[in-house]
Amino acid sequence: MSATRRISIVLLAFAAFAGRAGAQSPAVVRARLSTGVARLGSEVSLVVEVEGSQDSAIGDLPSVDGLRLGPVGIPSLGVFESIDGRRRVRTVKRTWVVPVVPEHAGSFTIPPITVTADGRNLSTPELALKVVEDLKGEDLGWFRIDAPREIYEGQPFTVELRFGYDSALGEIGEQINYINLSLPWLDQLPGLLELDLPAPASGAGWVEPVGLNSRGKTRAERLPPASENDRSFLLMRIRKRYLATRAGKLEFPTSHLEFGHVESGFFNFGSSEKHTFYKRFPAFAIDVLDQPEAGRPIDFSGAVGTLSARATLDHRDVDAGDSIKVSVEWTGEGNLEFFDPPDPSRMEAFKGFRLYGTNDRKTPERRVVIYDLSPISPDVAAIPPIPLTLFDPSKKAYASIATDAIPIRVRPLKKTSGITAETSRPEPGLDIRDIQTEPARERELPRPGGGTIVAALLGLTVLWFGLRTAVRRRGDPDAPLARARRAARRALRRDLAGARTASDQARALQRFLAARTGEPAPAWIGRDALAWARSDADDRREDRVEPWATGARGSARLPEEDARALAALMASLDERAWARSDEAIEAREIEGIAERLVRGGL
């Protein structure tokens, strides 16, 4: 059997019973008797099974007074595969069949038997065996076990035990006040999950307690009396619901119904019995079949059974974007608790909806999934059918059931841009800009060319170097005297602004003239400016005047008229300075002559 075939059923079943499934990884030991009630001298077998162990061995058999156990034979080996979660699990099963010979009548308890599996010690459950001298009651009792003889893996099925006794023995609880079912297979069959039962019909009568394997207690539903062979029987029933998780054969050993009367007159299993009757139901088996591979849909939901689907809405007149609760109900005989419900968000028919969530409710009778859907366009006119793929054991084929389409009305939203299907209208700003229709009018910018750039950069460096060299041939322009000469006029204006007397002004002028000529300021005290201006180049060499301080015209330092103005200014300042008042003259007059001297080449 392929892994994928089992995934849908067994995965869900094991996931739902994670606790039990999770316990499957380590070895599991089971034990059951071939019958719970045996007549003295009959043969009884004790079957011990170990699953999930590569190496296992049965330990010493216990000693039970009145029973002879053993010997332990060679175990039979079986290998089968199943899916546990998302893994393929290969399981080895060893089975020992131990003969049990009753030596006298009585009730016996076979204590746990130690089994070693992969180095771990495991124990079988305690088992009860009743040995009687005569199985009276075959005529007085009535016992049937109804179960399908063939099912498919993943298919739930019900085992119904109907039992009772001759009504001539009196009403239940009167002469017959003790009922027990000896079911050696109960909880000991591999590959079965017990499911919850559907709720019984209201008004049903109950009989309790009914013993199970002389240990547990349960209750049985009272059934109408039945007639058989001109005799009337009081009947009860107990139902068990199972799901087969793997293919194979489920073997049910012989079961017995015990009923009788105990002294206490009350249902008390611990009391000593006086009269007990037995009714036997023979062993039987159920074949668990593989689901067929042929025709399996890709979207197979894992549902197995004969189901029907129905959908209802909480309201059908909505605005676009409003929520609609769509309740889909699947009912019928099937594994309602275990299949994957359909997902509308993956269906093309639901592209006009948004799915905000689901609410899943499971019961043995029905599966209800509430889809919170929202129509996003007023174009939506109906809730489309919601399909479910399943395997129908009655038809032995895969099928699809779907809900009916339900018309709805979706009104567009008012005063809003509206919610629209994402695929039908792109969001703003998600498209390219339109073509450019106007020919480009701008003129081609003329290119100076790469050669021009290279030439400009090279020429620039050459020119800079040449200019720098030429300038420095006349002296360093950054020397203190050169800087003072350039700053002489600014210094003169600053000094004149602070001068209060003619003496201050005379000193300011002397500093100006000294800065421009490169001489010390005292050299200009009492100097004949006219004579100085007329001096020739030889005089300048003797005076060691800086080259940049020379005049521009001929050999004279200053033009004649500028020299006269300077001499007159210096005489005026001296005259005022030696006068008693020492009155200052207009600063603008001094600044004007200084400007004239600079322009004249000073």
Binding site: R433, A440, E442, L457, L460, W464
Partner: protein, 256 residues
């Protein structure tokens, strides 16, 4: 002289009239969804086949036509080819906001990385590439002029401040050279854009034959260097220095 200019203008009047009419026809064809007609007309305009004197469009006009051809390709569902057209358009008009917007949209549609990732390197690179060749040359000359002023001041006056200004001017001139250097470097290349839509990209074969061995592959949207061309085949440089042949249909020339 004014008379000569007037005569020249009169003579140049009819020039381009046919091209303009063809362009209007292409625009109308595009807007009514006849993309094939629009494409053929714009391709003809790009090639300058109108037969007129001075029919070859200017760089700006070529950039516009390339942009419009990108829209045609996008509307026809070929986002990768649209990426090629927009990229080619931006090489001629690097500051065209429409082309940038459409390029990024087309790249997104083609599941390519954005052309401008928005990080510092991308931003600087986009600034450098934002000028045309002529603009970058004028910018370089302007930078040189600023530097010349600083150098002249330093030569005439000297001093620490002016020396620093001259150095600053040198840095400015170098920075202004960057776009021009970028264009010079780009001019030395002839890239093609891989527009093979398959996930494996375009196969590069050792020889221009369909049965030649595949020696490499180029991812969609990748720009690789074109070295040679044969009918139906383009010789490209394989990453690592080797050469191989790629089918022409998978290569979109970006220099147009």
């Amino acid at each position: 002289m004014p008379l000569a200019l007037l005569l020249a203008l009169l003579a140049s009047g009819p020039v381009g009239a046919s091209a303009q009419a063809s362009d209007r026809t292409a625009v109308e064809a595009y807007h009514r969804g006849d993309y094939e007609t629009a494409r053929s007309l714009w391709l003809a305009a790009l090639e300058g086949v109108s037969g007129e004197k001075n029919a070859h469009p200017s760089s700006a006009e070529r950039g516009r036509i390339l942009y419009d051809l990108g829209n045609v390709a996008f509307r026809k569902g070929d986002a990768l080819e649209a990426v090629g057209w927009y990229t080619a358009s931006l090489r001629l008009r690097p500051r065209d906001a429409d082309a940038w917007k459409n390029l990024e949209h087309a790249r997104t549609t083609a599941k390519l990385e954005p052309a401008d990732r928005g990080d510092l390197v991308s931003t600087l690179w986009r600034i450098v590439a934002s000028l045309t060749l002529a603009e970058s040359e004028w910018l370089a000359l302007a930078g040189a002029a600023v530097w010349a002023v600083a150098l002249a001041a330093e030569a005439l006056r000297g001093g620490r401040l002016l020396r620093r200004l001259a150095l600053l001017g040198a840095g400015l001139a170098l920075a202004s050279l960057a776009p021009w250097i970028y264009h010079c470097a780009r001019a030395a290349h002839d890239p093609v854009l891989v527009i093979e839509a398959s996930e494996r990209g375009a196969e590069i074969r050792s020889e221009p034959r369909a049965d030649a061995a595949v020696i490499a592959s180029a991812a969609s949207g990748e720009e690789i260097e074109r070295q040679d061309e044969l009918p139906g085949w383009v010789k490209v440089e394989v990453p690592g220095g080797a050469s191989g042949w790629m089918e022409s249909r998978a290569a979109f020339a970006l220099t147009r």
